[in-house]
Amino acid sequence: MHQLELRNITKTFGSVVANNNVSLTLEKGEILSLLGENGCGKTTLMNMIAGIYYPDSGSILINGEEVSIKSPIDAFNHGIGMIHQHFKLVDVFSATENIVLGYKEEGRFNLKKSAIKVKEIADKYGFIIDPKKKIYDMSVSEKQTVEIVKVLFRGADILILDEPTAVLTPQETRKLFDVLRKMKEDGKSIIIITHKLNEVMEISDRVAVLRKGEYIGSVNSKETSESQLTEMMVGKKVELNIDRTEPKDPKDRLIIKNLSTIRDDGLPGVRNIEFTARSGEILGIAGIAGSGQKELLEAIAGLSKIKSGTIEYINPENEEIVNLCLKSPRQIRDLGVRLAFVPEDRLGMGLVGNMDLVDNVMLRSYEKGKLDLLDRKTPGKLTDQIVKDLEVVTDSVNTPVRRLSGGNVQKVLVGREIASVPKVLMAAYPVRGLDINSSYLIYNLLNEQKENGSAVIFVGEDLDVLLALSDRILVLNGGHITGIVDARSATKEEVGLLMTKSVVVEEE
């Protein structure tokens, strides 16, 4: 008898088939990894177990008995708890308050008793949690702990974790895995969604693979290899190599001195940043999400308030030094500084989702021409070129960009940015949410720009990739630079330590 069994689950959204006839089992005391490229239906499938969606057809069995999960409450009653990628916590509440929120208990509501129970659960599995601490004071990893304890508090036997390690440092990930192993020993069943193959191999007993909404199969972690898993995910063999060439004739391109910024909400952004970006080189930027990566790039692009410091740009044509701090985004762009900035919300900055490809490519050039009339012909040609060169999959160049898949959206953005031969190219999380093939295409494009002599600044989250692609890695924590290392000799642990290293600030 299986702890959880899915039989022939199908779920469609309009004409899009998110899950097609998926059957899956989960045993008691097992850690199962659910693997697959973005958009292959992993989260949809899990949401059906957690009561967020209802399957169009098929059935869900728990301990051999068919159940109907119509809401998250049903899911809890069946001992299922899901930890979502985006935390669902009330910021101004304490850990305990969040944990008991919405929980129906026998007798009177007793926060003290609940706090004790929270502590018990934490001690049992080795969590570190302060029941009284408010959510807004917590780090990402602490918030995640609250989410997990919340689920355990309600007596979940089946835990689903949606990309839990995406926001953690290597050290935090290791701690999380220790906890998961303890839970497994305690007889809990765990499904973990992740992209990182090395983690899959490390933590799980068994791996189930989905591809384009269909169940491909499952293998025991001990009997498989990363390349076999990739092949199952993609459907064909993929070369997972990143070429790294020696920088050719590196010259200083951007010299940043003593840079401090202020965020829109008035809080300090990055503080006392000093580094140099060189032509023909990829400078990687590592750090936990929200450590100042966004603020730094926006400052260079002229989008944020600068409190102090200078950003000197050395124009390769005439060796003239320009201070970008005094320039508008438009003037900076005209100098050849390109920002391919893709925050979490892919279409939030850089592209307009509801506009078609041509109108998006036109964003860079629409001002040209004296009349107040738009010229769509020239950008139209450029769009055709980008679609052809980067193999963008789209019905036509008149399709709204939001209808494209993540990888194709990214190709349009990066294609537009490099079309103008930038001297500095900044890319933040350019492969977030992309499938393996598209990711490697983007890496190659960045490498190409490096070879062409532009200074590439690459903000990444996957340390393995950062170490393989960059020439140097700059590590940020809390808005400070905690170190700049040579990517060829540094180790993952070294970078991980720098990511959490705190800098003592002398407040003025």
């Binding site: 959204f13 309009g14 900055m349 109108d359 860079r364 107040d372 009339l373």
Partner: protein
């Protein structure tokens, strides 16, 4: 799996990804039809005078089509509504929720009447017309630009701001009238100087100029939005302010410029209302078109061509219902407003069924099939017609898009 899962919910709602243009038309026609049906039932049930069910539809039609005069009045009403809706579109496309159409129209009326009242007879009419236009546009423009400035510089909420300005505009108009006629009843007598030219001795007399003007403005705004750099900039700002900043668009300036434009267009409606039709003003001269215009703009998804049809439809319902009111012996105007509301509500509700689909549990589906049978049957019979209408609109849209390339 043979057995049905009884614990499955009765129905669930699924988002439609792609809908055929024909089906879209079909859903809208059906909902309008149901709306009219409900309205007819209400009217017949409540009428003290008549219980002729089919008479309702005749009455509706006669309110618009029975005489040339009525028909031109109807077109005038639709044109004014179109004028207000198209005025709101640039601001809406920029996601600036201008709920102050009423106030901006009234300020246009005020500007026009102030010039007519104080300068009438002192200057030749053609000069007066120009001054009236300038004043109308300036008053309404100021009324729109105040909330825009606050939004651009202090991030205030424009919906509340514009909404409140409506009341102030109405009070200003009322105050002006009572200061002009201190002993009067608070209403104005038509002003004689500065009346805009009309074509005499034709059935369309006063209606001609406004209709031509607003058709022209609609075309011009449609072209502005589609082919000008300004139009492109305001769409980018509306869709994503971050992208606009990133690309170097001056968001503050675009906000102010666009809302000013929107206000000026509303002011033109006021100019026409006071200068060409009524030759006076009143505190409710806007007839709430500032709000009805919002509905027209949304229902047409900001497409100027669709907007023409929606304006025609809404004007039809309003004019038709006032005839129904008379024929069925309702003494209270509000009753017909309620029924007009029902029809509008159904029309708006159809948007839901265009975007979403309801999937019934298998056993419930059988019952639903039985109930919906006549509608499905009629729908199938009419589907070629719907398809043609749908394709017409899609074709038109494509042509316009292609034209830009």
């Amino acid at each position: 799996m043979a057995h049905e899962n009884k614990r499955e919910p009765l129905f669930h709602i699924v988002k439609r990804m792609d809908i055929k243009p024909g089906a879209k038309v079909g859903i809208k026609v059906l909902s309008i039809f149901i709306g009219l049906l409900i309205a007819a039932i209400f009217v017949v049930a409540l009428s003290p005078k008549s219980n002729n069910f089919f008479g309702f539809f005749g009455s509706m039609a006669s309110g618009v089509f029975s005489t040339p005069r009525r028909f031109w009045k109807y077109l005038l009403e639709a044109a004014l509504l179109l004028g207000v809706s198209i005025a709101l579109v640039p601001a809406f496309k920029m996601k600036f929720w201008n709920l102050g159409g009423n106030g901006q129209i009234l300020m246009g009326c005020l500007g026009t009447c102030v010039v007519m009242f104080y300068l009438g007879g002192k200057l030749p009419d053609p000069i007066l017309w120009i001054l009236m236009l300038v004043a109308a546009v300036a008053f309404a423009g100021i009324w729109a630009v105040i909330p825009a400035l606050f939004k651009a510089f202090f991030k205030t909420n424009e919906s509340l701001f514009t909404l409140m300005l409506n009341y102030i505009a109405a009070i200003l108009v009322g105050y002006t009238i009572s200061s002009w006629y201190p002993k009067g009843t608070g209403s104005m007598t038509p002003l004689t100087n500065g009346q805009l030219p009309i074509i005499n001795n034709t059935p369309f007399g006063k209606c001609f100029l406004p209709i031509v003007l607003f058709v022209f403005i609609t075309t011009a705004v449609a072209l502005y939005l589609k082919y000008s750099k300004h139009g492109y900039e305001l769409s980018v700002v509306g869709e994503s302010e971050n992208t606009a900043r990133y690309i170097g668009i001056n968001v503050k300036w675009v906000t102010i410029r666009t809302v000013l434009f929107s206000g000026i267009l509303c002011g033109l409606v006021g100019f026409v209302l006071s200068g060409a039709i009524n030759y006076m003003m009143s505190t409710n001269m806007d007839s709430n078109m500032g709000f009805t215009g919002i509905m027209v703009a949304w229902l047409s998804h900001f497409s100027p061509i669709v907007m023409v049809f929606i304006s025609l439809f809404i004007a039809f319902i309003t004019k038709g219902m006032s005839q129904v009111n008379e024929d069925f012996g309702f003494t209270d105007e509000n009753l017909s407003s309620v029924i007009t509301g029902i029809i509008f509500f159904l029309l708006i509700a159809s948007e839901f069924f265009v975007s979403y689909k309801i999937i019934w549990r298998a056993d419930a589906q059988k019952v639903v099939d039985k109930i919906a049978f006549p509608f499905v049957w009629v729908g199938k019979k009419l589907s070629p017609v719907f398809e043609k209408i749908g394709n017409f609109f899609t074709g038109l849209k494509l042509k316009l898009t292609k034209g830009g390339k």
